[in-house]
Symmetry: C2
DNA sequence: GTCTATAATCGGATAGAC
DNA sequence: GTCTATCCGATTATAGAC
């Protein structure tokens, strides 16, 4: 991995761990094993580095989600596979985490990857649910759009509850609660 | 309001807006209109101020929640009143927000108000749901504990989605999605 | 491309006068 | 109780040598 990519990787880790406000250029350089001059040669500063890091994290998140959404099983299984996928719960979401950072939210450029990522996820999940209804796998009473928004919120909120409790239990309970309710809308359920 | 309380109020606002890492003693002093000496007379430093601020915010949050939970209407109404209560969505939750702050989570003392608040909320909501089942207002198939965890997660996650989108819409959709699903478990529903 | 030097400002506090 | 002075390291760069 070249210096430029190492700087981006270091930024990705530090943004995840410490947030934008809590991440200094110096810390990024040290983690990447690069000097000041090197960093400022490749990037104009902290903001440009963060943008590159967020774009890579967003792309990673989308491609991971597509692994479950694009599956071929029953709609309920595709959704529950996504919700139950192994995650580093106590570390939280690399993208959702940034929503609390005032400097990220205040900058249209830095907020864009967040907005785009969640809009894509919601739309993708909505499509999965709507296709499930069209195939007769899910009851028609379900609203695909609000259900998709709810499921994403349960994930993001689950991270918050888990970190507050320093335990994955509240996260698991929240996912379980959502899946139990969704389960009652599966068609031809005995 | 005396100087000590003004310092706590200022800390509460800045923690909400900027988080712990992003809040400096100097900023607290300026917002409170107090000098350095004054602040360090009343508090040992930033951590002690933050603890006092978090404790007051936690108490406020619990008392506000109790306004809906302690209501006398139908269980579904009490729950939906809580979820639909007017909130400063784009600012987020004063307590949940801190779960992303590494220095808060790393400190058992500072994390305690978060853990306690969400544990109380979950338990309180669980009790409301269980009582609703006992009264025959909610179907027995609902698991009060995981449902309570899910509803709290939807709220906290809704804040995250709203800030990422710079719009309350995803928050509203998520709440709506959760309430629609819960609605199907109300007893004697025509 | 990478290095070192320099710099203005901030962060988080201590000390002692009033 | 509050004020001012002082401190030392961190932050976020810029400049110029190599």
């Amino acid at each position: 991995m070249d210096t430029q990519q190492r700087l981006i990787e270091s930024t990705r880790e530090l943004l995840w761990e410490r947030g934008y406000v809590g991440t200094s250029p110096k810390a990024i350089q040290q983690l990447a094993g690069a000097g000041q001059g090197s960093m400022y040669h490749h990037f104009s500063g902290k903001a440009e580095l963060a943008l590159a890091a967020l774009q890579q994290s967003a792309e990673q998140l989308r491609s991971q989600a597509e692994e479950q959404f694009g599956g071929s099983g029953h709609t309920f299984k595709r959704v529950s596979d996504y919700l139950l996928r192994e995650r580093d719960v106590l570390r939280g979401c690399r993208i959702g985490r940034m929503a609390q950072d005032p400097d990220i939210i205040a900058s249209p450029e830095l907020r864009e990857p967040l907005e785009h990522t969640f809009a894509w996820l919601r739309q993708r999940l909505e499509t999965v649910l709507a296709e499930g209804q069209a195939r007769g796998e899910l009851l028609a009473g379900l609203n695909p759009k609000t259900t998709a928004a709810m499921l994403l919120a349960v994930l993001q909120g689950g991270y918050v509850l888990a970190r507050a409790a320093n335990s994955v239990q509240p996260y698991r309970d929240a996912i379980q609660g959502a899946l139990s309710l969704l389960r009652t809308h599966v068609a031809e359920d005995t």
